[in-house]
Structure formats: structure tokens, C-alpha cells
């Protein structure tokens, strides 16, 4: 196999894996901060126990997120040297800024939070988890700005044989970024809210009313009920933001990457109309499709905001590319797309992404999100007015599935975003196959891929094992929190 094909698989595998940990890090850090704030304000130990319980799970998750993130930072240079050389002037800056503004903040303040319980006054200690949580969001800002630039390369021009930044404000004001940021942040809250609710719902049902500690309404069951409802509300509110921002995002996608929208819908001919297909079979040559179930006019609405609005089809866009090069929906191009077009014409490029992948990942993303939402609503219903759900098989299964539904929706959303961008690594500017490292052999990429897979696989086993151990242990007992001055006293926490 070609080195660049394996490099693409490697990027896909390592990035999807890394991204299992990212949404949890982004949103759970903030939810833990909120729990600790409630404890700080009320002094009620219930919230301290929740802080410590979910904080521990957050840290187990965070460790793998950190170490797999290192690979991401270096992978561009290792496997994609010509991409790095070509876009470094634009794309490198957000990565460097991410390290400088976000990684330092996250790592330093998490260190302070983990070890600082008995070293820092309560209020200052509370600030450290907020600083770390803000760091995770800043990280998302820079990475999403960088990725959005690959989808819609604004604020840059073709100069000195490479892409050069001309307007950093335009990179940060990229409409793709402005839509993707709220979509990703809210999608992260769906994951963390779902995780908090599912674990609490599972413990709550398992206690099933047999809670000896629960004499004053402050015991484990009451705490779990509170946490389940808290998580479910986070999940539901986040879902609404995901839907609104996703709708906004699909309209921008139609504008700047019409081919991606067409592929997401397996919409081959403009003349086919603008019905949204729910189920489709197509021929694998990718020239036409048979829509089995459709919603009339909905696609036009999703793509353009007008019921039955015209949506360009794959075949028409392909013809347009052959004649005029890469165009956005309104026929415009970014500066970089325009000036690089001449050079691009000499490269053989099949401009249609993998349609079945784009079509199905788009639907799986939405489907998983909706099921997650439904379970969130069920949790609120089942715990209404002090009710306690029993450990029925269906309930336990739903609790087991809930954390994975929004998490996998995140993965499928990104697989769609990146596969739908193909054949481009930078939309309309640089074909992916020209971006790989010429000095790296297929054997070397295979070797690294096998090593990563083995190590990542082992880490997954260890991670899940630890996660389940601490999950099952339930709410920890807590000692009074105070600053310890005695030099010889045991620390409240140590590795």
C-alpha cells in the first residue's frame, strides 16, 4: 500500500482515538468545577463527594488524552511534511498558540488542583479547576480554527510557493469556525452530561431504594438522584445547542463546500430536487442513487434555509470543477483557492468524496445524538418528584449505552467532516495525496501504525479497567478540607 494511504489511516485511527478523550476533558472539567463551586457555596459534603468522584474519573480519562495528544502535535511533520511545509505559515500558528495558551494552563493548573487540596485556600483551589477547564476550551478554539481553515482556507494567499497568512482575524472569524465551535463545545457537554447522568442513574437504580445511609435525604441515593438529573439537564440543554449550531453549520458547509453537502445526501443531480433522504441505496460507481425514504423539500431547508431550496448535485459539481475549478456555492473562491487554481489543474484529482461514508456517518451522527437525547429525557422522567427507577434490564442497558451515544456521535461527526473534505487536505487548494512525507517509506508508516495500535489498544484496556474500578467504588468518603501547615503530616493526596 502507498505510504500516504497508510498515513491517512494512521491519522484517522490516532485522531479518532485521541478524540474519545477530548470531549470528556472539555466538558467534564467544567462540570467538576461547577460541582466544586456548589460545594464551596453550600458546604454540603454531598457535592464534595460528587466532585471527588467525577474528578477522579475525569483524571483517568485526561491522562490518555494528554499522551495521545502529543502524537497529534508531531504527526503533521512526521507523516505530512509537504502539508506542513505548504501551510505552516497559516496552520502552525494556531498549534503553537494552543500549546502556549491552552496546554500550559491545563497542565499546570490541573497539577495544582490534584495536589492542592491541602495546600491552597478553598477559594484559590476552586479557581485552579476553572483555569484548567478554560484551558481545555482555548485548546478547542485553536484546533477548530486550524481545522476550519482546512475546510475553508480564508485569510491566506499563495506566495513564495506556499500558503501565507494575510489576515489572522479572518482565520479566527472564519464562518466555518464560528459554527463549528459552538457545535463542538455543546457536543462535548452532551458527552459529559450523558456520562454524569448515566453513572448516577446506574448507581441509583442499583441501590434500588435499599440505601441504609439515606435517613435524612442526604445519603447516596439522594446524591445520585441529584447527579442523574443534573447530568440529564446538561445533556438536554447541550443537545438543543448542538441542533441549532449544527443547522447553522450545514448551511455554511453548503456555501463553502457544496460537494460535501451533496455527498452527505448522496444527492447526485441538481435536478433531483431537494428531498431529504432517510434511507438510500446507490451504485458503487457513485454516479446515481436510489432514495428509498425521503422527506420532501427538507434537504433544501437544511442546506439553504428555504423549504425546497435548490441544492447542487454531485454530478453537476463535478462538471463544474472540470470547467472552472473548485468553486463555492455562489461561484466564489477564497484568495488561496483562486491563486492556486492554475497549479492545481495539472494535478489529477477525483473531486468526489466517498459518498457512502459521507452519507452514513452524517446520519449515524444524528441518530446517535437523538437516541442520547431521548435517554436523557427518560432519566428526567424516571426521577421526577423523588421517584427512583428500578434496576430493570432496559434501564441498566440504557445507562450503559448513554455515555457512548454522544461520544460516538462526536467520532462520526468528525469522520464525516474529514472524509467529506476529501480529496482535499485544504479544500480546493491541496489534494491530500500531495501532502504526505516523500522521505517516509510505507514500511516506516506501517511500523509506526502497528506500534501505535498496540500501545493504544493496551492503554484502552488499562483505562477502561481503571475507569470501571473507580466507577463501581461509588461516592468516596470525604475528610474535612483544610490547609495543612504541619511539615510532617500526611498529604491529603499523593501518587
Amino acid at each position: 500500500m502507498d505510504a500516504q494511504v497508510i498515513a491517512r489511516w494512521q491519522f484517522g485511527i490516532t485522531t479518532v482515538y485521541h478524540f474519545f478523550f477530548v470531549p470528556i476533558t472539555i466538558a467534564l472539567s467544567m462540570l467538576v468545577a461547577v460541582l466544586q463551586t456548589i460545594w464551596y457555596r453550600t458546604g454540603n459534603d454531598r457535592y464534595l463527594r460528587l466532585t471527588k468522584f467525577y474528578g477522579k474519573l475525569f483524571l483517568i480519562n485526561f491522562a490518555i488524552g494528554v499522551v495521545t495528544g502529543i502524537v497529534q502535535e508531531f504527526q503533521f511533520g512526521m507523516n505530512w511534511s509537504e502539508y506542513s511545509r505548504f501551510v505552516g505559515d497559516v496552520f502552525g500558528a494556531p498549534l503553537a498558540l494552543e500549546a502556549l495558551l491552552a496546554f500550559f494552563l491545563e497542565s499546570t493548573f490541573l497539577g495544582l488542583w490534584i495536589f492542592g487540596w491541602d495546600r491552597l485556600p478553598k477559594k484559590l483551589h476552586l479557581m485552579t479547576i476553572y483555569a484548567a477547564a478554560i484551558g481545555t476550551v482555548l485548546s478547542a478554539v485553536f484546533i477548530l480554527a486550524a481545522n476550519s481553515w482546512m475546510q475553508n482556507p480564508v485569510g491566506a494567499t499563495f506566495r513564495n510557493g506556499r500558503a501565507e497568512l494575510t489576515d489572522f482575524g479572518a482565520v479566527l472569524g472564519n464562518p466555518v469556525f464560528l459554527a463549528t465551535f459552538p457545535h463542538q463545545i455543546s457536543a462535548s457537554y452532551m458527552v459529559a452530561g450523558g456520562l454524569v447522568a448515566a453513572i448516577a442513574g446506574w448507581h441509583l437504580a442499583r441501590l434500588n431504594g435499599h440505601d441504609e445511609t439515606d435517613t435524612s435525604g442526604k445519603g447516596d441515593a439522594a446524591t445520585w438522584r441529584w447527579a442523574a438529573r443534573f447530568g440529564a439537564w446538561v445533556l438536554l440543554v447541550a443537545s438543543v445547542v448542538v441542533i441549532i449550531s449544527g443547522d447553522f453549520q450545514s448551511k455554511i458547509m453548503t456555501e463553502v463546500q457544496p460537494m460535501k453537502m451533496a455527498a452527505a445526501e448522496a444527492h447526485y443531480n441538481t435536478s433531483d430536487g431537494s428531498d431529504f433522504s432517510v434511507l438510500t441505496i446507490g451504485n458503487m460507481e457513485g454516479t446515481e442513487a436510489t432514495h428509498i425514504i425521503t422527506v420532501p423539500g427538507l434537504l433544501g431547508f437544511l442546506a439553504t434555509g428555504e423549504w425546497g431550496g435548490e441544492v447542487q448535485g454531485i454530478n453537476d459539481l463535478k462538471e463544474q470543477y472540470d470547467q472552472q475549478g473548485f468553486l463555492r456555492n455562489d461561484g466564489s473562491q477564497t484568495d488561496l483557492q483562486k491563486t492556486f487554481a492554475q497549479e492545481l489543474k495539472q494535478l489529477p484529482t477525483n473531486v468526489v468524496p466517498n459518498v457512502p461514508v459521507a452519507y452514513w456517518t452524517f446520519r449515524i451522527m444524528m441518530g446517535l445524538g437523538f437516541v442520547g437525547m431521548a435517554i436523557g429525557a427518560w432519566i428526567l422522567w424516571a426521577t421526577r418528584k423523588g421517584r427512583t427507577p428500578g434496576p430493570s434490564r432496559l434501564w441498566m442497558m440504557a445507562m450503559g449505552a448513554l455515555p457512548f451515544l454522544p461520544l460516538l456521535a462526536n467520532s462520526f461527526g468528525w469522520i464525516f467532516a474529514e472524509m467529506g473534505r476529501q480529496p482535499w487536505i485544504v479544500a480546493g487548494v491541496m489534494p491530500t495525496w500531495t501532502a504526505a512525507s516523500p522521505s517516509v517509506s510505507a514500511g516506516e508508516v506501517w511500523f509506526s501504525m502497528i506500534l501505535y495500535t498496540v500501545v493504544y489498544g493496551a492503554l484502552a484496556v488499562v483505562e477502561v479497567g481503571l475507569f470501571m474500578k473507580y466507577l463501581k467504588m461509588g461516592l468516596p468518603d470525604v475528610a474535612p478540607v483544610e490547609v495543612i501547615e504541619d511539615e510532617d503530616a500526611p498529604l491529603s493526596f499523593a501518587y
Partner: protein, 360 residues
């Protein structure tokens, strides 16, 4: 402040490129200074950590700070990408396998610190200790070999310029000395750091070992200093003088660290191993100034001028660095201050259903 701003706004490629070379050198220096002792602490686990409680004391000296220290490497990598895309692209793809070893080491290491204490089974803890040991030894060794090769110069050819030095050619005698030097020097830096941050048995043993390791690294540094300056001196006459001074300073400082360690002044000793690392890494970057550690076999070649980003990008990055580097330094320094107390086995919280050791 205003004159500085004006200078920056009017600065062109000719000013910004050397400024960014300097900043990247600073990031690498900072990384080796800080992560140097983290690597050392973990590499010494089998030697100084004779039982689990001693090992825990050692790990807890770096527990709150190791991750922040490692970010210096990520920032150095990100800054190379942003400021010198040509450098980042050619170097990272050209040294594919060595870099892979560094990354794997860092993965194993990072996980080991966080997960070690999460189970009590001796097999679990042992496995995590070995992940930390290998994950610290491997990056130290590979980076030492790598930087020695930058001093010698990696050959590049073609357009785009790609590394033509083969994998096995990386292991020249000078490069192997570089690898051993990094390992021993970081171990010395780590031992003295442990001595500085602990009390009791761990403190005594770390101090004695730190003294020996510091003398050993000083000897290695002396050989390295002479070899580098005789065989791989920079072309520029002023730079030749500078590398003699900084390289010998590194050796002298680390010898001084051994002396102060033996006199129970581990604070001074730590500052001196630190100065030794700073001087050693600076020597290498002085040699790499301009050519970035590459020898171009043909046109267009690769140097810091051809590898660097546009003045516009460099300006934005300079502003960000000017604002945020001092802030980062301030809060990292604060975190060291928060965790300034020395640790001993007495400070370890008793683990649930663990027998309380006799005598405590």
C-alpha cells in the same frame, strides 16, 4: 513599551527570523532544564527507590509539575511548525523513527505517573515503574543522539529539501557520546532535584548519588566540549569563541554541582546542574544558528531564512509570545512555590487497607 512596539511593527524578516530562532532555542533550553530532572527522577526509580514508599516519594516530587514541564516540548514543536515550517517538515519526517521512539517513551511515561497509584498490586506498580523508567531513558537517549547530530549537521538534498542522512549513520561516536551525556546529566539533575525536594533516607541517598553522577556528567561534558569545539566548531569566529566558553562553562558548572552536593548545599547544586544544561543546550543552538543543524548538498537548500514563516505570521506569534510567555512563567513558578515543601515517607497518605509501616 512603546518603542518596543514600534520596533516590532517595523521589523522584517531579517529581524524576526533570528528572534524566532532564539525563542525556539529558549523553549528547548527550558524543556531540558525542567523535564531534565523529571527524566532523571524516573530513571533513578530502580536505584534510589528500593521500596514502594521511597518510589512514591520520588514520584511525588514531580507529581504536580511534570506535565507542565512536558508542555515546553509541545510548545517548542508547535513554535517550530509556526515559525519555521521548513525546519519542522524536513526534520520531523527525516528523523521519523527516532521521533517515534521519543513519542512512545512519552506516552508510556505520562500514563505511568497518573495510573501507578490507582492500584496496589505490586505487579501493577512494577509495570508502571518500568514504563516510567523506559519512557524517560528512551527520550533522553534519543534526544541526546539527535542533538549531537544537529551539531554535526544532517545532510539534506533536493527540492523540497529532505534529510539524506541514513538511520544507521545517526549513531556516530560523537552522537553516542551525546546520548550517554544526556542520560547521565539528566540523572544527575534528577538526583539533585530529589535531594532538594525530600528529607530523610531518600534525601541522603539521592544526595550521595547526585554527587557521583554530577562528577561523571562533568567529565563527560568536558570530553564533549573539547570534541565539539575541535571537530564541529561553528564557522563564525565569534561563535567559535562563544561555543568554547559555553561548553566549558557547562562542564565547570556541573563539576561545581558535584562539589556543592557533597557539601549538603543541594540548592546551589541544583542551580549549577541547571546552568550546566542551559549552557550545554545553548552551545548546540549557537552551532545551529543559521543552518538549523542541516548541511545542504544542493540548491535550494535549507537554512533558517528559507525555512521561516512570513513576517506577518512571525509578528503575530511574537506578540503572543511577548504577552503569554511571562504569564506562563509566572504561574509555573507559582506552582513550584505552592509545592515547595520537602517530602518524606511520613508525608505519604496511608493507602486504604495498607498496613502502617513499623516506626511511623
Amino acid at each position: 513599551m512603546f518603542p518596543l512596539t514600534t520596533v516590532l511593527l517595523e521589523a522584517g524578516h531579517a529581524t524576526l527570523t533570528p528572534v524566532w530562532f532564539l525563542l525556539i532555542a529558549v523553549l528547548w533550553v527550558g524543556f531540558f532544564f525542567l523535564e531534565g530532572f523529571d527524566f532523571g527522577v524516573a530513571m533513578l526509580l530502580p536505584i534510589l527507590g528500593k521500596d514502594d514508599r521511597k518510589r512514591r516519594v520520588m514520584i511525588n516530587t514531580i507529581g504536580p509539575v511534570w506535565d507542565g514541564n512536558e508542555v515546553w516540548l509541545l510548545t517548542a514543536g508547535g513554535a517550530m511548525f509556526a515559525a519555521f515550517p521548513g525546519w519542522y517538515a524536513t526534520l520531523f519526517s527525516g528523523l521519523y523513527l527516532p521521533l517515534l521512539l521519543v513519542l512512545l517513551g512519552l506516552i508510556l511515561r505520562g500514563v505511568s505517573f497518573e495510573y501507578r497509584s490507582k492500584r496496589k498490586a505490586p505487579q501493577w506498580r512494577n509495570a508502571h515503574d518500568w514504563m516510567a523508567i523506559i519512557g524517560s531513558f528512551l527520550p533522553s537517549l534519543v534526544l541526546g543522539v539527535g542533538f549531537a547530530n544537529f551539531v554535526k549537521g544532517l545532510t539534506v538534498a533536493g527540492d523540497p529539501p529532505l534529510v539524506t542522512t541514513g538511520f544507521w549513520s545517526l549513531f556516530s561516536p560523537f552522537a553516542l557520546l551525546g546520548g550517554v551525556l544526556f542520560v547521565v546529566l539528566f540523572a544527575a539533575h534528577g538526583a539533585i532535584f530529589i535531594a532538594l525536594k525530600t528529607k530523610g533516607d531518600v534525601h541522603e541517598e539521592a544526595k550521595n548519588l547526585g554527587t557521583k553522577l554530577a562528577y561523571a556528567s562533568a567529565a563527560l561534558l568536558a570530553v564533549w566540549a573539547i570534541w565539539l569545539n575541535l571537530a564541529y566548531a561553528p564557522d563564525n569566529p565569534a561563535a567559535k569563541v562563544v561555543t568554547w566558553i559555553t561548553a566549558l562553562l557547562a562542564a565547570a558548572a556541573v563539576a561545581g554541582a558535584g562539589f556543592f552536593s557533597s557539601k549538603d548545599s543541594e540548592g546551589k547544586a541544583f542551580i549549577l546542574t541547571g546552568i550546566g544544561i542551559v549552557a550545554m543546550v545553548s552551545t548546540m543552538f549557537v552551532k545551529m544558528y543559521g543552518n538549523l543543524g542541516f548541511i545542504s548538498a544542493d540548491a535550494p537548500g535549507l537554512d533558517m531564512w528559507s525555512a521561516s514563516s512570513s513576517p506577518y505570521t512571525l509578528k503575530i506569534m511574537t506578540i503572543a509570545a511577548a504577552v503569554f510567555v511571562p504569564i506562563v512563567l509566572a504561574y509555573q513558578a507559582w506552582s513550584y512555590w505552592v509545592f515547595r515543601k520537602r517530602l518524606s515517607t511520613d508525608n505519604l497518605p496511608v493507602e486504604k487497607d495498607e498496613a502502617i509501616p513499623v516506626g511511623s
